[in-house]
Symmetry: C2
Subunit: 398 residues, 2 copies
């Protein structure tokens, strides 16, 4: 059957892991929310399904509920970005936003700039559009702009098209936890502008800052409309609602709205979010999330220093993750498999490196010593237990 | 900016209309549900957000809630299709299912078989993957299998690849209302099987039969696993929940699940649907929908015969739509524009024909005399008023 060959080709692009399901294991793997802080949305749902029944059970408008788009534009304005109502498109989660951006822009043979490592779920989405990866490393200030400039020049010398866009997570990067410095942000925007390459700023964790002062978002620094900002209520409120957004110039969004195949993002959950926002409950909820995840981070940092001092890391000032670096020679994929059998699920570093090319970081085996552990979902007690299990597995390999 | 040229090329594929928004007009345009029969889901939502809070507000599993997949497989079994639990993938609406099928199968240069006319929202989805269209007409028994066979042979003689799949709506076809006869279904399956071409059976209206006896679904007649069945709760329950499914061999679904960029279809609305089903409320609701839409159909049929006898149609035995054929020379696009200004929104026939090629039905101008009017959303009184307005506009053009 001719179909089989297509599928085989297509499946070959999908080496990224499925969203992992740890079963009964202690979960340090996915970027799940801590269930203990899920808000009580019964009053909002009751109101929506009574007062807004005709709206919330009907097909929704492609751009999203106008009131929600208004709220999101004000939210981004408060964060320093000059975003109007018509520059907000509501989507079924930020990942769906990334997919719509790809669907609008990408053609076969295109490349995308990603950090190495990058968000592991973004990799199969980008790969499913046939994108090749231009990987750039980070240091403590974020993406290495000089390295990016050199890579772009090299590409130009080779007669290759410029990459279609730059994908980055400048706040509490997934998986590294790094927040890009202000001067690095400005340098990235200047380089992207001069090279004519848009930036996709994926920023789910921005409000989950435990200490220190936020840098301006790339969107807020953008004067030329080259930043496509992806946002989500998954980390602000709850992932199960599946409400995210793209902020970009209206003409781009109008085309993306046409490409949405979902008959309008769920109007029921949009309205539930909106009622929660109008009830003025979001800021308190974010404060609760911040306090909770700060406690989880501290607990995991302490447990790792106590139980597994061989794992080096820089404690992040927000977000969900620690990015561990093990001593040379440690096979973290083997360690992750052992840990899973022992009852704690983690994600080995290799999954976060996009390119399998021989000259890539992953291809040269340099991704092997890393591991991402999420402190978001587990309880503090599970964090202690899980780190202990991980440490036991590590010792068993040495 | 190199981006602009990509977007221009991409946008050129999107000549299909946006989901129309009729504003204050009487709405005969979209396949919206009648708001008067939306169920009260407050009890289910209350229960879900209390008893299943951790599940419904967290990320969901890529395949969907296991209990919901179980229910859907039993539902399809009751309908004669031998579908197991692992042959059901929950998706964010049937259109998203069609997109995932394209995403898995389609390569540049591929063609798809569609009826002429076909579901107008499917056209931009298919087109966005670069598919070209092989259009086949229908008669009172559905898709013309002999014409399809000839078209496939012609393609083969020309050295072209076979189409990637056949897309059809065999029950209460959108827009024609035609239900495919049993022998035609068997002939379609035999032809598709011998040609090695899968069938995508999109069947949202199947249970909305007002009279007569259902034909077996293509999925029920399929012995070789070549039918991908798209289903949805949009027409069974409410569109705003955005819950649909694909039923297909598990190996195919596993790959589609990897391509879902939505972090799992909304677990909150999935669980609300499931609670409604477990409360045993679906059959009564479908019965109410059937009675309601039968009344709407009758009302529109009577109004058209009374006010606009120039519009010929075959009254369908179910579904949402009447497909009107006006006398030769009628420009239904101009009529639709006039009608919109007068306060009733309809969709001119041209939108339902996929191909703009000179030798296509649309290209030869044969689509011009048609119009789709939906009787689903408007009240009976609005149906009377809307048909009167449409008739006045028609007379004003002649």
């Amino acid at each position: 059957m001719p179909l089989e060959s297509t599928i085989a080709r297509r499946a070959a692009r999908l080496s990224g892991p499925l969203h992992p399901d740890g079963g009964d294991a202690i979960s340090f793997d996915s970027g799940y929310a801590f269930p203990g802080i899920f808000p009580d949305l019964t009053a909002q749902a009751q109101r929506v399904l009574t007062n807004y029944r005709s709206e919330s059970l009907q097909y929704g408008a492609p751009f999203g509920l106008p009131e929600l788009r208004e709220w999101i534009s004000r939210y981004l304005q408060t964060d320093g970005a000059d975003v109007s109502f018509d520059e907000v498109l509501v989507v079924n989660g930020a990942k769906r936003g990334l997919e719509l951006i790809c669907k609008l822009f990408v053609e076969d043979g295109d490349a995308v700039v990603v950090t190495a490592p990058t968000y592991f779920t973004a990799i199969p989405i980008l790969r499913s559009f046939g994108l090749t990866f231009l990987e750039v490393t980070q240091d403590g200030e974020g993406l290495d702009i000089d390295a990016l400039a050199r890579a772009l020049e090299r590409r130009q010398r080779q007669g290759l098209k410029p990459p279609k866009f730059i994908y980055d997570i400048p706040d509490f990067h997934n998986p590294t936890g790094i927040t890009m410095s202000r001067r690095r942000r400005e340098a990235l925007l200047a380089l992207a502008s001069s090279a004519g390459i848009p930036i996709v700023e994926d920023s789910p964790y921005r409000r989950l800052r435990f200490e220190g002062v936020a840098e301006p978002s790339l969107k807020a620094l953008d004067r030329e409309g080259i930043v496509f900002a992806l946002g989500t209520f998954s980390k602000l409120l709850a992932p199960g609602l599946r409400i995210g957004w793209i902020s970009a110039p209206h003409a781009m969004l109008a085309r993306m709205a046409q490409l949405k195949s979902d008959g309008g993002t769920c109007p029921l959950t949009q309205r539930i979010v909106l009622e929660f926002l109008k009830d003025g409950l979001l800021e308190d909820h974010i404060e609760l999330a911040r306090r909770t995840y700060a406690t989880h981070r501290d607990r995991m940092v302490e447990a790792l220093r106590r139980e597994l001092p061989q794992a080096a890391f820089v404690a992040p000032h927000g977000g969900y993750y620690l990015w561990l670096k093990f001593p040379p020679g440690t096979d973290t994929s083997a360690l992750a498999a052992r840990a899973y059998d022992a009852g704690v699920s983690v994600i080995a570093g290799a999954a976060f490196f996009a390119s399998d090319e021989a000259d890539s970081i992953k291809g040269r085996g340099l991704a092997q010593g890393y591991m991402r552990v999420a402190y978001s979902r587990a309880t503090p007690q599970e964090i202690d237990e899980g780190v202990k299990l991980l440490a036991t597995c590590y010792r068993g390999m040495n």
